[in-house]
Structures are given as C-alpha cells and as structure tokens.
C-alpha cells in the first residue's frame, strides 16, 4: 500500500515535471529541457535602493542530485534587454556568456543591432567577470564600479501549484486545492544575477526589460 502510494507519487511527479511549463519553464518545444531554456526573470530594487537587480534563471526543475552536473552552455548568450524610452526596443543590453568556469558580462551598453541576432560586444563594452559558483559552495560575488555579479545554481524562486493548474486546464478538476502544493519545491535552477546603479539603465520613471537566450551559430 505504502509502496504503491510512493510509486503513484513518483509517477505524478514525473508527469508534472514533464508538463511543468509554468512561468517560462519548458515553455516551447525548441528550448524545452535545453541549456537555453529561460525559466524566469525578475527585476527589483536592490538592498541599496539606488540600484536595480536583474535575475535570469535557466534550466529549471533540476533535482538536487542533478544540480552538480548542470552547467551553463558556452554556446548560449544570455542577454538582458533594457528599453528606457517605452517603445519595446532595446536601448541597452547586458550580455552574459560563460567561458571556462567564469561568467563574463558586457554592458550595460547599446547593442550593435536590435533584434534576434547578436554579437558579443567584447571589444567596446565595459567588461566584468565572476567565477561561476559550484554546487554546494558559498556564493561567489564580484563587485566592481557599483555593479555586482553572480552566476551559479540556486533554489528555483518560482512557486505554483502547476500540477493542479494542468488538471484544471485539462478539464479534470474545476478548482485549486487549499492548501495547494508547490510543484517547484525542492528544485533548482542556474541563476545569473546582476545588480547595477539605476542611473546606468535609464533616467525616467521606469524601464521595460526582457531576457533573451541566443545560441551561437
């Protein structure tokens, strides 16, 4: 009895994992489960309220056992896009690309071109780098010119009863459970966190941000 319950639980978790496309986890067939899959982005005021923090998470639903083996892909460029004049076209980018155990950051700087294709602005943009924190180690943070940088595995900050949502959408249930069950509890992501002075990204009341993952051709 107990064993069958565990087995059913494992099956439910597997199914939930497979279909768990919440936030942006495994959101589309071309990126699902791959190294360019963005799971979530965040933008918020820093502990120093003159600063703004940008977070991009990749490769969701990592179990603790699989986290040490997960790594940033050197062929995947992560690009924080910042629109500071309200037209949804990037005026500034912060690029992040891993090389040999370090995450390199370029920007904030104007991109050489907007849109779907990018080159790394290594020859012109302000460059920073931080050692990628390995699983189980203390967070390595690099701070330079008022900017702070981190890259490495973290707890997935996203929470949702995604399994129940799926059941509702499928027509098998009509309402959420109370309390609900966090489908993302106990799972990790690969995080890139950047904190920069607000003055570096815009002078108005707000900016629009989005994050892109771009693969080397």
């Amino acid at each position: 009895m107990k064993k069958s319950k565990i087995l059913i639980g494992a099956a439910v978790l597997t199914i939930a994992g497979f279909f768990a496309i919440a936030a942006d986890h495994i959101d589309a067939p071309a990126v699902a489960g791959g190294t360019s899959d963005i799971t979530d982005i965040y933008g918020f005021q820093g502990q120093n309220t003159d600063n703004i923090v940008f977070v991009a998470n990749l490769q969701g639903l990592l179990s603790p056992a699989s986290t040490a083996g997960a790594s940033f892909d050197e062929n995947v460029l992560l690009e924080f896009n910042i629109d500071n004049d309200g037209d949804a076209i990037e005026d500034l980018v912060i690029q992040a690309i891993p090389r040999d155990g370090k995450m390199y950051f370029f920007g904030p700087t104007a991109p050489s071109q907007s849109g779907l294709n990018s080159t790394i602005l290594a020859d012109t943009a302000m460059r920073n780098e931080v050692d990628i924190t390995s699983y189980g180690a203390n967070a390595i943070v690099e701070t330079n010119n008022g900017m702070s940088f981190f890259a490495g595995p973290r707890d997935d900050p996203f929470f949702m009863d995604f399994a129940r949502y799926g059941e509702i959408i499928a027509g098998n249930e009509t309402m959420f459970n109370d309390p609900g069950s966090d489908t993302f509890a106990g799972t990790n992501v690969l995080s890139v966190v950047v904190e920069v002075p607000k003055a570096m990204v815009g002078t108005g009341d707000s900016v629009n941000i989005w994050v892109e993952s771009k693969r080397k051709q």
């Binding site: 919440a22 942006d24 071309a30 990126v31 090389r99 779907l116 990018s118 967070a139 941000i209």
Partner: protein, 183 residues
C-alpha cells in the same frame, strides 16, 4: 539548377567561415588567441518578460514563434490570439480588477516586457502597486489568475483565482545574490 545553387551557397558559406577563422588568428584584441573567444553570431531561442505569458496565452503551435518575435512586433502578431485564449479560459470575462476589457488586457500582455520602476516599490502586485517590477516573493501566479478569472472586483470564480501556494519553499536573502541557496 536549384541543387547547384544550394551547393554554391554551401561552398560560399564554408569559404566565408574558414576565411573568418583565418582573420581571427590575426586578432590581438580581447577576442584574440590570448583571451576567451567571444566571436560569432548568436541567434535567439528563448525570451521572457512577464511570468507565464507564453505558457498561458500562446497555443502550442505558436510557442516557438512567440519566443522569436521581437517584443515590438508581438502585439500585431499575437493580441487577437491572446484575446481568443483569454475568452476560452474564462468565457464569462467582462473586465478585471484593473478595469481592462478583453482587448485592452490582452493588448497589454501581448507585448511581453516587464516594466520595472526606477523610483520606488518594485512589485508585480502588493495590494497597492501594480506591475512595477517583479520581486522574488511576489505571488505572480495568483495575481494573474485573479486578473484572468476574478472579474471586475476579484470575486468571480473563487476556486480559480488563487492556487493557494503563497510563497517559496526557501526564504530569500536580504542581500545579493538574493536567491536562496540550492537544495
């Protein structure tokens, strides 16, 4: 003829690729042989602004294309489809707590960028401020459910407006890098 064209293009690409590599050997700048190689063109695969937009509002057949449509083109390409999806999810939709009718609400969502305030509270929704950012602890899914299902005063479809998961399974840090240590 067509096959020949393809062959010619392939040869041209190969030549340009190897030529590019050759010239790279002569590069003594930061992308040269002494440091990491940052050359090449990178082409978009995934993108994200607000939470769960592609997941909730985009049909399976369009999910890849939504990820590779630049935000300034997303409204024209997807607003109508978003409106149809909203009305499929909630056939009784009239307006929501923001006072947005279906075209207005889906028009705001289709351009998938996250607005982040530079002069105050940054939150998806904290009871007072709406869509001024996204903080780690924000219950973004319940906010979106409320706006999709809750009607003008949030009281409609009470079983669908909150997933009853209100927080993360690990506390966040007050200082950089803010996210909790991995499990």
């Amino acid at each position: 003829m067509k096959l020949n064209n393809i062959k010619l293009i392939a040869i041209a690409l190969l030549v340009s690729f190897s030529a590019y590599n050759c010239s790279n050997d002569d590069d003594n700048g930061p992308t040269g042989p002494t440091g990491p190689n940052f050359t090449g063109t990178f082409t978009q695969q995934d993108q994200m602004g607000r939470p769960a937009i592609n997941t909730v509002f985009v049909d399976m057949a369009d999910k890849n294309s939504f990820n590779t449509t630049v935000p300034s083109d997303q409204n024209a390409a997807f607003q109508t489809k978003f409106e149809a999806k909203l009305l499929a999810l909630n056939p009784g939709y009239t307006t929501n707590a923001l006072g947005f009718d279906a075209p207005t609400f889906t028009g705001a969502l289709a351009t998938d960028v996250l607005t982040v305030s530079l002069n105050g509270t940054t939150t998806f929704f904290d009871g007072t401020n709406v869509l001024t950012g996204r903080a780690l602890a924000d219950d973004v899914i319940s906010t979106e459910l409320l706006l999709i299902f809750g009607g003008p005063d949030g009281s409609e479809n009470p079983g669908l407006t909150d997933d009853n998961v209100d927080g993360n399974d690990k506390p966040f840090l007050t200082s950089f890098p803010y996210l909790a240590t991995p499990h």
